[in-house]
């Protein structure tokens, strides 16, 4: 969360972002800016392109047109003498390693235990020493409340525990931006709270977060801004007290009244 007097430095800047799958245009010109340290919540009906937009940010999908920059660098491209060049796989991977992502279905590595899941990327990608990576993994697991599950395998954990491991795994790369794609949608209701608590705690550390969620409570309490997407465009954006409590656009009103 940003303090008021802090100058706003952009972390993610999207300009006229378009994305089509075949003939179907899913994103029809998204413009938005996420400042450093900001927690943004992305809302929208199913199929409105929220996941697609998140996946564009770390280049799991490629844009059809528009400009998208993270921390001043174009996603998937670099600018040399005013021209955009496609990045090589190595460079794409390098940039992705600075962006953490948490998925609806956790996607933990089932053949590795909790610690191995967390240290896989630091050791394999950042070439960190195992002991260093392991120490940080322990600290992170403690932070998400799983210090006693370090040697469990994903299949032995509840959904909420798995998602907390997934968050620790993403944090182990010390990302400057965290993307959450409906992190609590696959959870039983009684497990949602433990994951949201971890996310709230994370938000308070000042990391930039973009969260796709239907958890209005979380959005109201934690988000600095809320963006409502529908039909491939940003319909309404602003602070939560405006977009969630007093939406201006009829489509936002309709959506909010249905979700609440």
């Amino acid at each position: 969360m940003t303090t008021v007097n802090e100058a706003k430095v952009p972390m993610v800047v999207a300009e006229n972002v378009h994305k089509s799958f075949g003939h179907i245009e899913v994103l029809k010109g998204i413009d938005l800016t996420v400042s450093k340290g900001e927690v943004m919540t992305l809302l929208g009906p199913s199929g409105s392109g929220k996941s697609t937009f998140l996946r564009l940010i770390n280049h799991l999908e490629t844009m059809t047109s528009g400009r998208l920059a993270v921390d001043g660098k174009y996603v998937g491209y670099k600018e040399i003498n005013g021209r955009l060049h496609e990045l090589r796989e190595r460079e794409v991977a390098e940039r992705r390693s600075e962006i953490g992502m948490v998925f609806q279905r956790f996607n933990l590595f089932p053949h590795m235990n909790v610690v191995e899941n967390v240290i896989e990327a630091p050791v394999g990608v950042k070439r960190e020493k195992r002991t260093v990576a392991r120490d940080r993994a322990m600290t992170l697991l403690e932070r998400v409340g799983l210090q006693d599950k370090t040697h469990a395998y994903p299949a032995q954990l509840s959904g909420g525990q798995q998602q907390r491991v997934a968050i620790a795994r993403a944090l182990a790369m010390e990302p400057k931006l965290m993307l959450f794609d409906e992190p609590t949608s696959a959870l039983d209701p009684e497990l949602v709270g433990e994951v949201l608590d971890v996310m709230k705690d994370l938000a308070s550390t000042g990391i930039t977060m973009i969260v796709v969620t239907h958890e209005m409570g979380f959005a109201k309490e934690v988000a600095d801004s809320v963006v409502f997407i529908d039909g491939g465009v940003v319909v309404e954006a602003g602070p939560p007290e405006q977009v969630l409590v007093n939406p201006q656009h009829p489509r936002t009103q309709g959506f909010i009244s249905k979700v609440l």
């Binding site: 991977a93 992705r96 998925f103 996607n107 590595f109 997934a166 795994r169």
Partner: protein, 312 residues
């Protein structure tokens, strides 16, 4: 309405009765036929001197047979290793997304699966008729090395190439099914962490694909053990050829074929037991990934779900 009531009361009283099992009177006829035929066969095994059990006993542990057995085992292992390694490469090529590379792999698989392995072995045996010399160099330009094909492609090499390259085509499909059986979310999560393709394959995808890959590979190994007998046409002294060499001397064809067959049976039986344990181990799934891959992958996943008894 009355009819329903009558039926109800009838089924109610029937519920108290023990179930009458369907009778299969014909099974006794079957038992008798099997019994008679079995007895006839066993008697002939003992009484027919042409079986030559004394010769079987004499040669069973002879050095030439044991040497052949050892060569058969070695050939099986080497051909399988070649098949697995090349199969993985071909599977990755097919899944690479580059049309030309995928096409080359497809063509390879199409050719090697579409022609009999026996014919392929003969081709490798007669390769020197096709290319008398093998050379390394620039096409239409200078040659750096040149070999007599016959000195390079000896019967061993021909056997390994023939069996291994053929096996690779089958392994490629098994590995491909295995890779496709791994949930795409695994790759995405790895990519999001900044991992690169080679590492994702090595550390994340292949280890999980093993569950699907290993059981049919064990099965293929058993097949390979028997297929090595085809190599006798290349005059490579594996088990069958060793037996053939012996009976071409002493003309006791049947006993020596029996000797070889018994050894094949023994080794395949051991491998079958091993396969049972391997399959049990690898079907014990820990992953929740959904299979989207080939028939094999789906079958195995279904099997696993059935094993778990829908516990999730």
């Amino acid at each position: 309405m009355t009819a329903t009531t009558a039926q109800d009361s009838r089924s109610l009283s029937a519920a108290d009765q023990p179930v009458v099992k369907t009778r299969h009177p014909w099974k006794w006829v079957g038992y008798v036929v099997i019994g008679v035929l079995g007895a006839m066969f066993v008697t002939s095994l003992v009484q027919n001197p042409n079986y030559g059990w004394d010769i079987v006993a004499e040669y069973f542990f002879s050095t030439r047979i044991l040497d052949g057995l050892l060569k058969t085992l070695q050939l099986t292992v080497i051909a399988m290793v070649l098949g697995v390694v090349l199969g993985v490469v071909l599977a990755i090529m097919r899944l690479s997304g580059f049309p030309v590379i995928a096409g080359v792999a497809w063509l390879y698989i199409w050719f090697f699966r579409g022609t009999p392995v026996f014919v392929q072995l003969l081709f490798w045996g007669y390769i020197s008729a096709l290319y008398p010399t093998l050379s390394l160099g620039v096409p239409f330009g200078p040659q750096f090395f040149s070999f007599e094909t016959n000195s390079l492609v000896t019967p061993v090499v021909a056997a390994i190439l023939g069996l291994g390259l053929n096996e690779a085509a089958y392994m490629a499909e098994i590995v491909r099914a295995g890779i496709l059986s791994v949930d795409s979310g695994q790759t995405e999560a790895s990519q999001a962490l900044g991992m690169r393709q080679g590492r994702i394959l090595r550390r994340i995808v292949l280890p999980q694909a093993m569950r699907v890959i290993i059981p049919p590979t064990a099965n293929n190994t058993i097949s390979m053990l028997k297929t090595t007998s085809l190599v006798s046409v290349l005059a490579f002294p594996e088990l069958l050829y060793a037996a053939q060499l012996i009976y071409s001397d002493n003309f006791r064809t049947i006993p020596l074929l029996i000797t070889a067959s018994l050894w094949y049976l023994i080794v395949t039986s051991i491998l079958t037991v091993a396969q049972y344990y391997i399959e049990k181990r690898f079907s014990r799934g820990t992953s929740r990934s959904t299979a989207s891959g080939g028939r094999l992958a789906r079958l195995l996943t279904m099997q696993r779900r059935a094993d778990l008894g829908g516990s999730r």
